[in-house]
Amino acid sequence: EAGVVQSPRYKIIEKKQPVAFWCNPISGHNTLYWYRQNLGQGPELLIRYENEEAVDDSQLPKDRFSAERLKGVDSTLKIQPAELGDSAVYLCASAGRTYQETQYFGPGTRLLVL
């Protein structure tokens, strides 16, 4: 079974530029998460999808971050414009049916904003 796929793995951009991250969850998983992980910290939830519905986006900085999950499968997280403080690892995870189940994480996208 293929795991969670994320791309790109690394991204370096200048501040004020836009950036997008892509995630393909494990086949059949209804729940999809985007997390941000700063160096030396645990993951911080940005948004959770149940199928194509964003059921928890309370931690998503909506002035510059947006996300979508078309058709309830792949998801894209966008930052526009990026700021220096956005430098972090962005992790995508998926779970089977509900938020209470085991989460399977992708390798993450390491973003550096210069």
């Binding site: 645990g42 993951p43 989460q103």
Partner: protein, 109 residues
């Protein structure tokens, strides 16, 4: 804010020794999960323990949960150099998943 708080922040042991790390949380939970993260990698799920369970085992891993003290512990027995990683607890409370800052374990060969 992060609900799960791991203790210690860092732990260095010799291969073959046991490693114990603790997680404390603030509110009632549905379940608690432990994850491992190797340097530069994604998180790997280790064990899920539900709020009505007190102990679970998986290979060399033993997890306990004390809901009265709002705490959990992860014990790794007979540690190996390959166990070197960061270990995170994640609490599932209501609709929220909250990770702690993690314990960094270093196992010396």
């Amino acid at each position: 804010s992060q609900q799960g708080e791991e203790d210690p922040q860092a732990l260095s042991i010799q291969e073959g020794e046991n490693a114990t790390m603790n997680c404390s949380y603030k509110t009632s939970i549905n379940n608690l999960q432990w994850y491992r993260q190797n340097s530069g990698r994604g998180l790997v799920h280790l064990i899920l323990i539900r709020s009505n369970e007190r102990e679970k085992h998986s290979g060399r891993l033993r997890v306990t949960l004390d809901t009265s003290k709002k705490s959990s512990s992860l014990l790794i027995t007979a540690s190996r150099a390959a166990d070197t990683a960061s270990y995170f607890c994640a609490t599932i409370a209501g609709f929220k998943t909250i990770f702690g800052a993690g314990t960094r374990l270093f196992v010396k060969a």
